[in-house]
């Protein structure tokens, strides 16, 4: 009886989070805002719902936790792939977005370029030193 009550509470929290994720996807102004709302709310809601089913029906707990862990591991990966793909395919940010990371100031870009140059020189010296004895 207690397991049924706890499972019902968990499933209720999960279902409300599922609805809020759908509402965020419908109402937010931008691909990236929609992506973060949809991914976080939907992942939490699905994990709560499935674990709640596993708690309410104790014989199912192993497979339920398996499905929940799988969703918890793979959903951020697919969201990250979608965000990177839409950024590289040229989807614009919302016009009221404040920070665009890929248009960083010049000092940050130079520092990144220097940090990228240094390992190349080291590998060149190593290969040159390796070629001299032969």
């Amino acid at each position: 009886m207690t397991a049924a009550i706890v499972g019902g509470i968990l499933m209720s929290i999960g279902a409300v989070f599922l609805l809020l994720g759908g509402l965020g996807i419908f109402r937010f102004p931008d691909v990236y805002n929609r992506l973060q709302a949809g991914t976080k709310c939907t992942t939490l809601g699905a994990v709560f719902t499935i674990v709640g089913v596993g708690v309410a029906e104790p014989a199912w707990i192993f497979k339920a936790v398996l499905v929940a862990v799988f969703i918890l591991l793979t959903n951020p990966i697919s969201a990250h792939a979608l965000a990177r793909a839409s950024r590289k395919s040229g989807v614009a940010l919302w016009e009221k977005s404040l920070v665009d990371v890929q248009q960083a100031p010049e000092g940050a870009e130079e520092a990144g370029a220097e940090a990228a140059d240094e390992p190349v020189e080291e590998t060149a010296e190593e290969t040159g030193g390796a070629e001299e004895p032969s």
């Binding site: 499933m11 279902a15 809020l20 419908f26 699905a46 979608l82 793909a85």
Partner: protein
């Protein structure tokens, strides 16, 4: 479990799915549609497990796991296609 509570929770989840479906229908860009379909797939995975509890069939857990795997692979392939083409 109380069947009325399960039906109400299922209805709440279906409401979230309908909102995602509206976004997938009227999204301005292709990425909007894919985001809507991705969220709808995750909600479907949760609702399949809930449906298994409603109908007292344990096989729905397996169906849900296979659906999650196939949806993950499909979304990765679509993202790769948007990024650099097949």
């Amino acid at each position: 479990m109380n069947p009325a509570l399960l039906i109400v929770l299922f209805g709440i989840g279906v409401g979230g799915m309908i909102l995602c479906l509206l976004r997938a229908a009227r999204g301005p860009t292709t990425s909007d549609r894919i985001v809507g379909v991705d969220a709808m797939v995750t909600i479907t995975t949760a609702l399949l497990v809930l449906l298994g509890l409603m109908l007292k069939r344990r096989i729905y857990l397996d169906v849900s796991l296979v659906y999650a795997v196939l949806a993950f692979v499909g979304v990765l392939v679509i993202a790769r296609y948007l990024e650099r083409g097949l």
